[in-house]
Symmetry: C2
Subunit: 204 residues, 2 copies
């Protein structure tokens, strides 16, 4: 790990890297220590248990991910432009740290109890944002500008399209036989492609 920082930070970074790569269960505190450049006991000195260390990381990543999706845009923009911005900024967030989604889905799946902690941490904010987005959407539907659709369907579509290219990369490459260069191009055009797909699907 990078020197000159303190060891506590180095441990956190190593743990983040390893947990994101291999998940909670497959990562040992011994491995984290080795990667950070200290001995295994020090991991416990700073974070007491593997679980507490994990939770700190899990929470940070979760907040980042949810935050990228759940944010209110108060600009006075036409609905379609606001939506486009929302799709694009979510895509950019996933691109910034592409291992997050699979990591989160995984850890939630193998330990659903983490959802409870989460619910507490996030509070009511997400639901409020959903309500806000719903009212904007419903207004547009009432005006006849877009077809009738629920906010849940729309958000799920956004997330599906924006995330999958990162989650599926290794498998998709193997199955499709796509070349590496071509896959890179695909990933790059995917942001615009996703916007196009979603907007065209909303036409009345």
């Amino acid at each position: 790990m990078s020197d000159e920082q303190n060891m506590e930070q180095a441990i956190l970074e190593s743990a983040t890297k390893l947990f994101l790569e291999k998940g909670f269960k497959a990562t040992s505190t011994t491995e984290i220590a080795k990667e950070a450049g200290c001995n295994q006991a020090l991991v416990h000195y700073y974070y007491r248990t593997k679980d507490r260390l994990f939770e700190a990381i899990f929470e940070k990543k979760m907040k980042f991910f949810v935050g990228s999706l759940i944010q209110i845009n108060r600009e006075e923009l036409p609905f379609i432009e606001k939506l486009t911005k929302r799709i694009e900024s979510h895509f950019d967030a996933v691109l910034e740290d592409p291992k997050i989604p699979l990591f989160l889905f995984n850890e939630i799946n193998s330990n659903p109890a983490r959802l409870e902690q989460l619910r507490a941490k996030l509070g009511e904010l997400p639901q409020e944002v959903f309500l806000q987005m719903k009212s904007e959407l419903d207004e547009e539907i009432a005006l006849g500008n877009i077809r009738s659709i629920t906010i849940f369907d729309l958000m799920l579509t956004i997330v599906s399209l924006n995330i999958m290219v990162f989650i599926a990369e290794p498998m998709f490459k193997t199955i499709s036989g796509i070349s590496n260069e071509e896959f890179i191009k695909l990933r790059e055009r995917r942001k615009k492609e996703n916007v196009h797909i979603i907007l065209s699907s909303l036409k009345p």
Copy 2:
């Protein structure tokens, strides 16, 4: 586990259930044995190592998943109808065993070496099917019936939309605050919704 079958089969079923739920690393042979109703040594008697047992299951699930996507439809149908059938049958396959996608993405992510075994097992078939689908697609583009798009983008869109509703369920429920009844409805209408999204995105 269900009686009257032989123990070898019961072990395979227990292992399948547990591996799909918790992944390779977090599942122990002791646990598999307990679930199957025998002692831990018997798991090794039949399958020698945990890894061999896992690989048998991994390969089966992988074949099922890839097979649901990669199949040639030789019916003489208009392109759009063929595509619709492809989307719907893929969706139905995922619905049949919804834990498969996350399981596969995960295990590939935490052990990319499994991809190599896979490449060998699958052979050239997937690439051939991609080529076949590509020629059908290009023909339709040339006729001006749909906009220009690569087969890779199209397939990725199909997979993204069809899979995510199953992978994201727990997290999506927590974040959105959607009720359980409403989520069930969402899941049910998702097949048609996905077809609609994809077809409308192809319009020239």
